[in-house]
Amino acid sequence: MNIFTKWFHRLGSPPWFYRVSGKLIPWMSLLCAALIIYGLYAGLVVAPPDYQQGDSFRIIYIHVPAALLSMFIYVVMAVAGGISLIWRMKMADVVLISSAPIGAVFTVIALATGSLWGKPMWGTWWTWDARLTSELLLLFLYLGIIALHNAVEDRQSAARAVSVLALVGVVNIPIIHYSVVWWNTLHQGATIMRLDGPAIDESMRWPLFAMIAAFYLYYFIVLMLRARGEVLNRESRSRWVRELVAGD
């Protein structure tokens, strides 16, 4: 067995996941908190106001990371859905369903902060253009996956159903990303993920990168927290859980 398949098998092992995630969470939380403190201070206090948007531009420090994560988490769920369908891996199913509420919250944050940014800058809370509409569709996909999972009683059928929905819905992700290129829209084009490098001054860029890193860490931390509860629930009759609880 090579290193990759070994790692893959371990990842699929609930007791291994439970033990390792318990050790990782405190350290990741510490790093995440440090990044947020730096990002908020440098973004809200140190960075100068934007020459066009004034201080309203500071919403970027949560809007962009939240929007990025709203898409990233969906891709993770689609990949987990694929793995769950092909290899029937228990942990893939856990990752998929534990991620859904986190993704939904990031989508709500992206939509709400976008609206709060759009009102002073565009003069409107909402417009039915490609970027905003496809992001709203993403929220409905998340809610659909959660509802579907709750609706199907049998655990295996539920896993299969949400995996298929997650895979089908993933076509929406490139649509969100390229919507500002393919269609005429009020939303500005890409600032960071550009071929010619980020179009944002350094004093504003570093706090943004810190907030993006912090949001990614936050996702993995909360995913592990949720997955730990989910794993205990599913494995509650297994020996390692009995030993774990009895040993407390």
Binding site: D55, I59, V105, I109, A112, W117
Partner: protein
């Protein structure tokens, strides 16, 4: 300090954005860790029950 909170006249938009985000992200952490604790408590109750019945 007052100038900082004023946010160049965009205080409502900026602080509502940050406040809402902080509330939702903190809520998600609390929800997740409570679910984990509830699960541990449920399993330990069941184990105690099983021990008694043996």
């Amino acid at each position: 300090m007052a100038e900082f909170f004023h946010m160049g006249g965009y205080a409502f938009y900026v602080w509502t954005s940050f406040g809402l985000t902080a509330f939702l992200l903190a809520g998600l952490v609390v929800w997740a860790s409570q679910a984990h604790k509830r699960e541990l408590a449920r399993i330990s109750r069941r184990l105690r029950r099983e021990k008694r019945s043996v």
